[in-house]
């Protein structure tokens, strides 16, 4: 398979993916690489419902997704989605080759870790910051973008502006 686009987005498959990213990338398939979704029947049925009929949906745990991506030599174009930076980092550390990653939504969960607003659609925790830096240090280009027609921001730059990496 050919990874056409890798996206970090905690809403997984949703309006922006279906109306904009599938068309812009011309993807034949979506891989959701997420341990929670892979182990939860309800999440899977909702992801399936959210996916257009014309696109194949594959839901795998991070480790199974990494194996599949490395093994499959087909020409199938893939939109790869993980729910957080930690997931993207794990794929890279499992030797999945990704040149660039788009950071979509990291939403502002009221419970859990303290988060800082980086952009209107990105609320990063210290863990996110650390994982994003590790990804960047592996030579992967990370930009933040909601939809293909919107501005793409350099993630390391906006993270620094938001007060991370002091």
């Amino acid at each position: 398979m050919k990874i056409l686009e890798t996206r970090i987005d905690d809403r997984l498959i949703h309006g922006q993916i279906v109306t904009a990213w599938i068309q812009a990338t011309g993807a034949d398939a979506i891989i959701v690489a997420d341990d929670n979704a892979a182990g939860d029947a309800l999440s899977q049925s909702i992801l399936k419902m959210a996916t257009p009929d014309s696109v194949q949906l594959i839901i795998k745990s991070l480790s199974d997704a990494a194996e599949l991506i490395k093994k499959d030599k087909s020409e199938v174009g893939v939109l790869l989605i993980v729910s957080n930076a930690s997931g993207a980092r794990k794929l890279l550390e499992s030797d999945v080759k990704l040149e660039k990653i788009t950071l979509g939504n990291i939403t502002n969960k009221k419970s859990g870790q303290e988060r800082k607003m980086v952009l209107k659609f990105i609320f990063a925790s210290e863990d996110d910051a650390e994982n994003l830096r590790a990804i960047s240090n592996m030579g992967v280009i990370i930009t933040a973008q909601t939809v293909p027609n919107d501005k793409a921001y350099d993630v390391m730059e906006i993270m620094k502006k938001a007060g991370f990496y002091k």
Binding site: R11, G15, T19, I46, M49, A50, T107, N108, K109, K120
Partner: protein, 129 residues
């Protein structure tokens, strides 16, 4: 029956406000928006507050299939027998739901609305060429 209009951004609130131009003040109809940066989990918690008691009939009207408000409403409705979720709302749909909800249960209403939806949109053409 409760009706909850759920959308991205302000569409739901504005839809309700517009519906009330036709219907006057409505009861048991609420509007909820998911804004940029809001998490799906917090959105579902908001839905929980709006739905109230478990046994109450509730109809969700969502803006678009696959959107997070719709996905959240579907997730939320799992295991709740008295909830139905519609997507692709327009003004005609909202008006019809509010006015005919007293006549039937939530699932019959959802079925009826889906049956009439194709009559609520179309393209106008002049007779002359």
């Amino acid at each position: 029956m409760k009706i909850i209009i759920a959308s991205h951004e302000n569409l739901a609130q504005n839809m309700l406000q517009t519906a009330e131009i036709f219907l006057g003040k409505t009861e048991d109809v609420s509007a909820v928006g998911l804004y940029e940066g809001d998490s799906p989990e917090d959105f579902e918690e908001m839905l929980l507050k709006l739905v109230g008691k478990d046994d109450e009939q509730t109809l969700f009207l969502c803006d678009i299939k696959s959107g997070t408000p719709f996905n959240s409403a579907c997730r939320f409705s799992h295991g709740r027998k008295n909830i139905s979720v519609l997507y692709g709302m327009n003004l005609a749909m909202v008006l019809e739901c509010i006015t005919s909800r007293s006549e039937m249960n939530v699932h019959s209403l959802a079925e009826r609305i889906v049956g009439m939806m194709s009559k609520t949109y179309g393209a106008f053409r002049h007779d002359t060429q």
